[in-house]
Amino acid sequence: MILDHLDISADEFSAGTGWEVKPEGACRGDVCVPLGDGFDLRRTAERLRMALVRDDDAGVWALGPDTVSGKALASAVAPELVLPDIDGQPFHLSSLRGQKVAIVCWAPY
């Protein structure tokens, strides 16, 4: 997640990372990590063990994914995936609930 500044809201954080900020902490699937009082990006990144890297010349930060469980998946509950389709329309993975889905990653490289 690319950030121009670190003063972002809990909602912006959730949209960018998939971690929802609730009273009990930052939650994804069936996993919750306590955050303490209120939302603060630096403290939340520390708790979720997310890398926060600054490029001084460009004036931006990049926030990496969490490393709380030491595995790519902390939970087997599928995170919501929203990506544009080839025509630019946002597609929500959850719109296919009730069917089996195979997400196939490919690349022209």
């Binding site: 994914p65 030491g70 998946l73 087997a76 389709d85 195979a102 997400i103 990653c105 490919w106 490289y109």
Partner: protein, 241 residues
């Protein structure tokens, strides 16, 4: 390319309640992906992942790779090497020929398709549909270096869009490649777009991902060297088992 094979398999499995969603990982965006999708006549959702969120969200590190999600939204398989059966296509002389990765480079012709057929038929009873614990265990390791690699890779893409392959862009790609050397998508994305930049916007140049003899190369590795290393590791594993 595998998209024609996926469309054929989708036609077969959709009536059994299984949908295929392809995700193209490419920082050049839809313009680069569209010809392949159109050529396959894809009727399934064809998504565009410009910033490799599949790597961050699901731990994807190579292509082709599939993630299976069941009717209730539970992940039941990750890191499935996803090569569909090849399709028949006319070659340059008009003769029918097998087209696709299946059966080439050591990939099975139909193992990935047969795993999906098994899951479509048996659901949770399929040996390939894993429990939540096994799914988490099978997902890629994620030490802090992987999060740092993702952050540097995202900075590299952000800068590439603004200024092309500047020194800063190359520095962030290099950081990502050193921090997570096993992430082949981070490497081949950089190599392929760099080759388009150095050789010209010809589709074939995307796949020339190594320097010519004596040519300067800005990355710590290249596709030829990476492939040789992976081959050596596989051979070593075979000798040990």
């Amino acid at each position: 390319m595998d998209l024609p094979g996926w469309q054929v398999l989708r036609t077969e499995l959709k009536p059994l309640g299984l949908e295929i969603v392809t995700v193209g990982l490419e920082m050049g965006g839809p313009a680069v992906l569209r010809p392949y999708i159109a050529d396959a006549g894809a009727q399934h959702p064809s998504l565009v992942d410009e910033s490799h969120v599949m790597d961050s969200l699901f731990g994807v590190t190579n292509i082709p790779e599939a993630i299976w999600i069941d009717e209730d939204g539970m992940i039941v398989r990750v890191r499935d090497v996803a090569v569909p059966p090849p399709v028949m296509r006319p070659n340059a002389d008009g003769e029918p020929e097998l087209y696709g990765l299946g059966g080439r480079y050591g990939f099975s012709v139909d193992a990935a398709a047969n795993r999906l057929r098994d899951w479509a038929a048996k659901g949770a009873g399929s040996e390939f549909a894993l429990s939540p614990e096994r799914v988490i265990e099978r997902s890629q390791p994620r030490p802090m270096e992987v999060s740092l690699a993702a952050a540097h890779f995202e900075l590299a893409q952000h800068l590439w869009k603004a200024e092309g392959f500047s020194d800063a862009t190359l520095r962030h790609f290099a950081e990502a490649h050193v921090l997570q050397p096993d992430n082949i998508t981070y490497k081949r994305q950089a190599y392929s777009q760099y080759s388009v930049a150095r050789l010209g916007r010809d589709e074939g140049n995307r796949f020339r991902q190594s320097p010519e003899a004596g040519e300067a190369w800005p990355f710590v590795s290249d596709f030829t060297a990476d492939s040789a290393r992976i081959r050596d590791e596989r051979e070593a594993q075979k000798r040990e088992t």
